[in-house]
Amino acid sequence: MRALAPLAGLAALLAVPLVVTDQYALHILITTGIFIIAAMSLNLLLGYTGQLSLGHIGFFGIGAYVSALCSLGFQLEFTDRLVLTVAPKPVWLSFVIAVATAALFGFLIGKLSFKVRGAYFVIVTLSFAEVARLVALNWVSLTQGPMALNNIPPFTLGLSDAWQLTFYRKLPNYFLMIAIGAGAYLLIARLVRSRLGRAMVALKENESLATSVGIDVTRYLVLAAVVSAGIAGAAGSFYAHYVRIIDPDIFLFIYTVTMVIMIVTGGKGTLLGPIVGGILFGFIPPVLREVAGPELQWIIYGLIMIVVVFFLPEGIVPAVTRAWAARRGRAATASARSPAGS
């Protein structure tokens, strides 16, 4: 039963394009899905180890830029004579390189958090994303700066030149997004249900008790940061090859904030939390755009957020789980009592 529920969810997601055929709606689904994958990865850090990384979009952006540059090919000029030229790589290889690069930055940030925790960790991660944005903006010879990297090749799927599928259209990209999302979900679920995930939660719950039973908390924080950054990098890479144009605005702080909103409203430290919160806050803006003026949109957005946080401070998923358990508990006691009562 417990194993079947995610499969049923996956089947439902795969069936969505049967109902939603509008291209614009499909585009909203894909971009929201990318955001949800990034939020799922941030949840590993924020929800499980309890460390707030406000620079998470940095990993996403690095994934996007690395993947785009690898697939386009680039030149690094160290001096006049020393020039490193990288020929365009296949998109799948660019994806792998992007994930590895983002994971490497995750490793560095995780190592750093050995020294800094709490507010300092927040500031360090925030600065990390901002520095990444400034690099992307100013290293014009590499990133084109504000002119943006464009004509990024889309994903292709094929064994040889004879049979090849290129992901220009929305529908195959939707399925690819679901595949990456399902993979990310599976990795995170395996991790948090293992002894490694318990060590991460132990760090959040009670660090001194965790160390007193022999848990090397730094090690698991680094592991969480590496996996989290790698998944964010994968989402970023997919984003780059889907929209096929990226500029330094990809690193904007507001995107990290949106991820945090998705996680907190959905329920941090739960597998489904970022998905539920992500669906809610991913779809609210495009829906509101249809019905309300720009000023009103953000007022409504803010109000919904405040209402959710105020009435369900732990998030939607934990609240629903508890209500469900309470109902089942009541039903169980009622059925146990009824023979005695009659």
């Binding site: 599976l186 990795l187 395996r190 991790l191 249900r193 293992s194 002894r195 490694l196 318990r198 060590a199 939660v201 132990a202 719950e205 009670n206 001194s208 008790l209 965790a210 160390t211 007193s212 039973v213 022999g214 848990i215 090397d216 908390v217 592991l223 996996v227």
Partner: protein
């Protein structure tokens, strides 16, 4: 009692620590033999918990050395010291509050697990097998301390006495060779204390050496092989419980009340 020097497990030699101008521990040397139950007693502020913090690596001594099984513990991190089998509990109840009782003990079992990141991410079958084995072990430990029926309750929903027991269960899960208990029965009533003493006897029967900090004199005198008395950061007496009860300096510093209570 076996000769402690022959099977010395823990040895503190000339330990001292200063917090700013305050000398918390001046010069502390004692040892704990394998299989012993040794109690560290003394008035509040005598330096008992500080001694625990030093042994388990939570704070570094200003001078002196600590060794466990002949290997120095100085400079090791708390998790490394726990890794060698020196596990403590905390004076103030310390649990993973929002996890269930079973999850608390499973977290304590961390040291016994072997699956690494790659095995977990690949979802190898060995990971599931280990998980089942650890769950069984956790259930055993909960039965051992008498929390068998509480598995699925949240730790912070337990009554106080049971929270104390869960703290001990978490420490036991980490498979200690030397267990350091910091006031395990503080706040427990007489009945709970008596049943805790039975648990302590079972822990001992498992061959786990215990170093105990405790204010409850009835328990200290009953369970200890040896008692070390600290006052103002120094050892003022040490010996078997009957000697300690008669020691004039100890009576003056600390035990006056305990004797009066023992009379009626």
């Amino acid at each position: 009692m076996s000769d402690p020097a022959a099977t010395e497990l823990l040895k503190l030699d000339g330990i001292g620590i200063r917090f700013g101008g305050l000398v918390a521990i001046a010069d502390l040397s004692f040892s704990v033999g394998s299989g012993e139950v040794v109690s560290l007693i003394g008035p509040n502020g005598a330096g008992k918990t500080t001694a625990f913090n030093i042994i388990t690596g939570f704070c570094a001594p200003s001078h002196g050395s600590i060794s466990f099984r002949g290997q120095p513990l100085n400079g090791l991190k708390p998790h490394e010291i726990a890794g060698r089998g020196v596990v403590r509990t905390f004076q103030k109840t310390s649990l993973f509050d929002t996890l269930t009782v079973l999850e608390n003990v499973l977290t304590g079992l961390h040291r016994l697990g072997r699956s690494g990141a790659l095995q977990v991410l690949l979802g190898l079958p060995s990971v599931g097998a280990e998980q089942r084995r650890l769950c069984e072990r956790a259930a055993e430990i909960l039965d051992f301390v008498g929390l068998g029926g509480r598995q699925d309750q949240l730790a912070n929903a337990l009554p106080y006495g049971e929270q104390r027991l869960l703290g001990v269960a978490i420490a036991l899960a980490a498979d200690p060779a030397l267990l350091l208990l910091d006031e395990p029965v503080s706040g427990m009533n007489a009945t709970e204390t008596t049943s805790f003493m039975a648990i302590l006897a079972k822990i001992r029967a498992r061959g786990i050496t215990t170093l105990l900090v405790e204010h409850d004199m009835r328990m200290v005198m009953e369970v200890s092989d040896r008692v070390v008395v600290l006052n103002q950061g120094r050892i003022i007496a040490s010996g078997v419980p009957s000697e300690i009860q008669r020691h004039p300096e100890v009576i003056q510093a600390y035990l006056g009340q305990g004797r009066r209570r023992a009379r009626h």
